[in-house]
């Protein structure tokens, strides 16, 4: 199933390179605006809420809860579960749930980040905590 799945390597760009460099060290980064205090994901140079350019990188706890999910029963690479996780730090993000029985996922369930390798930087996924 997901163990055999090959994920595309991130292309990366100057705005997001630091995220992927940190991912190589196993760190899951979000951006926080020092002007309005809001955290956001995926990372942007300009805060999407107040338009300040005073955004800084912050390591996320990598802990969150499942906001929603959907189990795709068939695909060329087998079943997979897409969903959104709401991080402890606030932002919600799109992901896949891995390394678990995909039929037992529940909204509100606690999950934590886990990285999976690609040919480039590793990609963040979530698994039950």
């Amino acid at each position: 199933m997901s163990e055999a799945k090959k994920y595309p390597a991130p292309v990366t760009n100057p705005e997001t390179a630091a995220f992927w460099e940190a991912a190589k060290q196993g760190k899951f980064m979000i951006k926080r605006c020092t002007a309005c205090g809001e955290a956001h994901y995926f990372p942007r140079a300009i805060c999407p809420f107040c338009y300040s350019d005073k955004t800084v990188w912050e390591e996320s706890s990598g802990e969150g809860t499942i906001y929603t999910y959907s189990l795709m029963r068939k695909s060329p690479t087998g079943p997979y579960a897409i969903g959104y996780v709401t991080l402890k730090e606030g932002p919600s993000l799109q992901t896949n749930f891995v390394d678990c029985d995909l039929t037992t996922l529940k909204i509100g369930q606690k999950v934590k980040v886990v990285f999976k390798p690609t040919d480039g930087a590793p990609l963040p996924f979530f698994t039950p905590a």
Partner: protein, 385 residues
């Protein structure tokens, strides 16, 4: 400033094909253009505005050339691309251009071959590295909305199934519909699970085909022979996860496009006699009905149940051509066909078994992109004169 009453839909055409291995995509555009121009009683050389979206091969200038439009006369183009609702947005933009005197006879085309050809590629957004790998498709993106809607409001699969049941009741009378069999709630629930909680019968069809519109001035429309249908309200909006703050997948951008259109039209959802609602999935319809104000948020399940969307049975007849769930979904884009059936209803040209009596006010509403990720919505309110 308003576009209320400043533009009329004078020509419509829906391609009868659902499977076109022997035609090119550009050819389908030309066939629907010809159909709509002839329906209006005009000639291609009269067209002075052209509107197309991402399904038009090469975009506006190759299409204007291929279609042989009169370039000495053509003075307004718009290739706004907002997925399936592009054509509802085009309708509003055509009305704006007509009201501003920038064109007087606008042609809008949609066509493509998802069953028998390649789909046009979509350019990557800024989110690509952070989302593409997770495999969002239409099925699971709308599945995520349905899952959360059920969690927050207690919506059930049985309630969603009623939307397909209603569409199938209408499709039985459409000779061109891909799926003409009337189905039951049980049929929907017993169809295979595709992406939880959506079953196969919660999903629309995939079809080749297309459609086109002619939008014109009140004066020109009145000089032609077709029943008069005018645009009286229009709205458009977009929504996305916006940095992940306060994520709520239980509502769509229709919550903004709808009120904008109703305000411009000066009417309320209660006045609507017929509703064309984009039905990429059953959950799409349920969320849109709530967002447009046909019922309160969270009460869509109750609203659609027990045949309330079936023409002649329920309070709000919807998608009387069978919609995307049963009839067609050309290029995986449902906006155009929503306008076409609304115009048929207002003209009194719908199938007699599904024609709404005294149909004088109709809504055509669509979304584009993925409701569970980022999307656009557009609402048009049409009146029979």
């Amino acid at each position: 400033m308003t576009i209320k009453g400043k533009a009329y839909i004078a020509g419509i055409f829906e391609h009868p094909t659902r499977h076109a291995p022997d035609k090119s995509t550009a050819q389908l555009h030309a066939e629907v253009a010809k159909g709509a121009i002839e329906d209006a009683g005009l000639s291609k050389d009269d067209v002075d505005g052209y509107f197309c979206a991402g399904d038009a091969p090469g975009g506006a200038w190759p299409m204007v050339d291929y279609l042989g439009l009169n370039t000495k006369k053509l003075r307004h183009v718009d290739s706004t691309e907002t997925g399936g609702c592009s054509y509802i947005i085009h309708l509003g933009h055509a009305a704006e251009a007509i009201a501003a005197g920038k064109c007087s006879i606008a042609l809008i085309t949609l066509a493509g071959k998802p069953r028998t050809g390649a789909m046009p590629p979509r350019a990557a957004g800024a989110e690509a590295d952070f989302e593409t790998a997770y495999g969002a498709t239409t099925h699971n993106a709308y599945g995520m909305c349905a899952m959360r809607h059920m969690h927050d409001y207690g919506t059930t699969s049985e309630q969603l199934a009623w939307i397909k049941v209603a569409a199938s009741h209408h499709a039985q009378y459409n000779p061109h519909a891909m799926l003409k069999d009337v189905v039951t709630v049980e049929d929907v629930l017993n169809s295979p699970m595709i992406s939880d909680p959506l079953h196969r019968m919660d999903c629309c069809v995939v079809s080749d085909g297309g459609g086109a519109l002619i939008v014109t001035t009140p004066e020109i429309a009145k000089s032609l022979k077709k029943p008069l249908v005018k645009l009286i309200g229009h709205g458009e909006a977009m929504k996305g996860p916006r940095g992940g703050k306060d994520l709520d997948l239980t509502y769509s951008a229709g919550i903004w496009s709808g009120p904008r259109a109703f305000e411009e039209a000066g009417i309320t959802p209660k006045d609507i006699k017929y509703a064309s609602i984009y039905d990429s999935f059953t959950i799409t319809v349920l969320m849109q009905l709530e967002d447009l104000g046909f019922c309160k948020k969270g009460e869509g399940g109750k609203f659609v149940a027990d045949g309330n969307l079936i023409s002649g049975v329920g309070k709000l007849p919807f998608n009387t051509d069978g919609g995307g769930l049963c009839s067609n979904h050309p290029v995986n884009r449902g906006g155009m066909t929503k306008i076409l059936e609304a115009v048929r209803q207002l003209r009194g040209e719908a199938h007699p078994k599904v024609q709404v009596k005294n149909c004088d006010l109709a809504i055509a509403h669509g979304t584009g992109g993925l409701l569970g990720v980022r999307h656009a919505a557009s609402t048009a309110i049409l009146e029979r004169v």
